[in-house]
Amino acid sequence: MLGEILLSKITKEIDLYTELLSIYKENTILGNVNGLVFWDYEVMMPKKASEQRAEELALLSGLIHDRVTDPKIGNLLKEIKAHPNFDKLKDFEQRNIVLIQRDYDKETKIPTSFAQELSKHSAISTQKWKEAKSKADYSIFRNDLEKMIDLKKQEAAYLDPEKDPYDVLLERYEYGFSKAIYDKIFDEIKTGLIPIINSCVESKNQPDDSLILREVPIEVQNTIAHDLAKLVEYDFNGGRIDVAVHPFTTGYYDDVRFTIEYSRNNFTNMFYATMHEAGHALYDQNLPSKFKYQPVGSGASSAMHEGQARFIENIIGRSPEFLEFYLPHLKKLTGKIFQDVQPEAFIHAVNKVSPSKIRVQAEPVTYSLHIIVRYELEKELFNNKVTVDELPSLWNEKMKDYLGIDITNDAEGILQDTHYAWGLFGYFPTYALGSYYDDQILTALEKDIPDMNEQMRSGKLTNILKWLNQNIRNLGSLYDPLDLIKKISGNEFSAKYFIDRTRKKYSKLYGF
């Protein structure tokens, strides 16, 4: 009798769990539909269809929102957690519950009317931002930016009224992070990085970047892109490369597509866009198939995803070893264009360090400082220590302080990114974090594959890629990013690996 009751309880619990997961699965599929519709919008759609497409996207996001905030999810979560047999669920099943709960909280703590107001204001402020940027006139955007900041503070209060609003936003985009952690990291980075940058800039040994600015026909660049993607084992049976204005990756498991862009006079744009997006795509193509359509069957975090993209782009793609291997290939594919180019000069040209005004054009060394400028300003904004009116001049001051750059108008300063118009405060740090994760992960990878550099030099990437599969991609989001880093490297997360590696690599290149 007792056995029977217990059995029925377990069965019931399984039913609850199965029901919850099946809701999640449907929502994931709906998200995939949304992804394809968006891809089509960016890549294939006849121009005139944009209004129709907007209707479709609006309907889908409405449907998705209704479904992820369905009180049924909340009730199921409650029942499952309160169930006496909850502990009998396997670890990954319990992890699924945790992740669904997190999402559900994020989505439901914000009242629908407020979410609508926010998305309406995003549309308006994005319009204003575009106008302001094209006219290099901050005053056009100012009021809407101020309102956006107020709205984001309110949003943070909805999510967690007890906590500091900027902390809430930071954690929203990367689980486990806070001002305290970022402050520490970014101080370390500033102290470590600025002298390295100065040494590079002041070195007598400067690269000749005209080498990489030679014209390469688009068809040839297209061939190179496909060649590179194959080399890093991107699966074309489950993906494709197209052209779009902004490179991006979208998809899920068996259907992961990315886009690149070509500039005739700088093939490295295509080259590194391909490596970067292929890195994102590889993560999604190699997520654990046994967890498909489950919360654990997705990437560990935004920054980890960015890290995987930058791993292929920078750790492999900008390494002297890989470039040494690839140059002969490149020569073959491009005919006579690079015939006279020597490996050493090529490697240095690709790895040129030079402070610039625009974040998206920054190379891997100065990139972090662009992020720090943004982080510091956002932090002060949300602490009410800085006003919206002071933003442009403070931006310019910091750019001067950290990068020695003079910003002459706001279009190339505070107005350069679209993020603030969308209300993405607290998001920029995840971009930098990806690279810090990479260098710490690398310490473990080098232990397992000591001759990694030699392998890259001979174009043998398989072992490295396999290692990334086993240690990161195949783990989905079984672990939060900080736990995953610790599990892989055996150490607490730290930015020191990034600084050490940067110093080592660039002192060699620049001879200091």
Partner: protein, 504 residues
Amino acid sequence: MDPIKNLFTFYEKLLAVYEEIIVLETISSTLNWDVDTFMPKIAITQKSKQLELMAEFIHKRKTSSAIGELLEEVTEHKYFTDLDYAKQRNVLLIKREYDKYTKVPEHIEKAFTKQKAITYEKWQIARKKADFKFYENEQEKLIEIVKDRAHYLNPDKNPLEVLMDLQEPGLTLQKLKDSFNELKKGLVPLVSACINSSSQPDLTLINRFCSKDIQFQIALDQAAVLGYTNGRIDTSVHPITYTYYDDTRITTRYDENNFTQSFYSVMHEIGHALYGQNYPSEYKYQPIGTASSGGMHEAMARFVENIIGRSDAFWEFYFPQFQRLTGNIYSDTKLDKFIHAVNYVQPSKYRVEADEVTYTLHLIFRMDIERALFDDKITVAELPVVWNQKMDEYFNINICNDAEGVLQDMHWPYAAFGYFPNFAFGNIYDGQLFWKMTQELQDWKESIKEGKIISIINWLKKNVYQNGCLYDSSELMKRVTGKEVSSKYFLEYLKNKYTQLYDL
């Protein structure tokens, strides 16, 4: 509340529910297009899940009690008949759809969906094996369910008529019999006259090697000539059109040893596309903002493909351009020989390969068979034998195995009974529209010869495209041509054309 205002509120609510359904359908359409064109190979399972989910969403909404209740509020409202015609038509169309989906009990619907999938899958294998027996039982089961379903939809009518009515509202078995008898009487002698004529086309002309690249350039040029802008042309195994107003895409396929494959696919699909791009914009996202029927859609495709694209006037205009685009492939070819070659008449085993004259006969004998099946005059087991007899009777063709015979179409294993008349009525509508057009546009031939095909398209636009689904096709034909639907115009068109081509 003011009762008429009250009615408007219900009406608006009903239309709002429907708009969401239509948007979901456009999303499905994009997913399907992706499957046909650019989807990575291994993504098919993932993609089917997406399509299934969308289908489920659409089905749930179409059968929702909300629609049922709103329909009742609106149609039983005492001022309903005071609504303007377009609004009443919207309500009627929603009601038709609602009835179609809700009159059949759920367990029958489920059994139907399941049996359809099984039958279709087995048929695919049967076709590969050229063995009808392999799927015969499943086809039998499927027909029983199809009859059952039809009975639920309308117990008072012949089940085949019920199914035909879903495709072409108002089409009865009697009307079908009458038109088809007339067509058969006219077509059979015409075909034999053509094949027995001493003037025969040189078919090697269409089999000259023409590279994919050239054919692609020609496809783009065809689009320009026909005024198909703001749409895509891609490649897929079976040419197809996805169209809803501003988002319209066609596909084609290239055979380097037969340029007509792509050429006439592009003409055909652009015919569909122009219809879809020109539904009345004020009715977008409303039930009336679509085609009048499947048959009318087919008519618009064939009008561009055959009436325009296979006419001598068209080739008089286009041939020099075609010669230029194809390099020296056709530099030695005489125009009249070329025109005859693209208009050859030759009985064939396969419907999809049939020419303009024999095509309709393929449909007629299929409907002979469907009628006999639904009247229990023949059994499923007898299908192959009956099929082969018909091929012999109509075309004097000997069928050696089921793959090239009864197994060639996906329609029966997919439960699409009563569907073939769509194709036939496409032709019948075209003949009648063409007759009317020649009366209204006296200089139509000159227009085409000068390359002003747009003036023909504009006539279609005014008379067909812009009417959306305001009228059922038979009603639309009456309004446009002033006559009841009749096969005689199509027959007349064919007789005139082929008498000249074949020197009859």
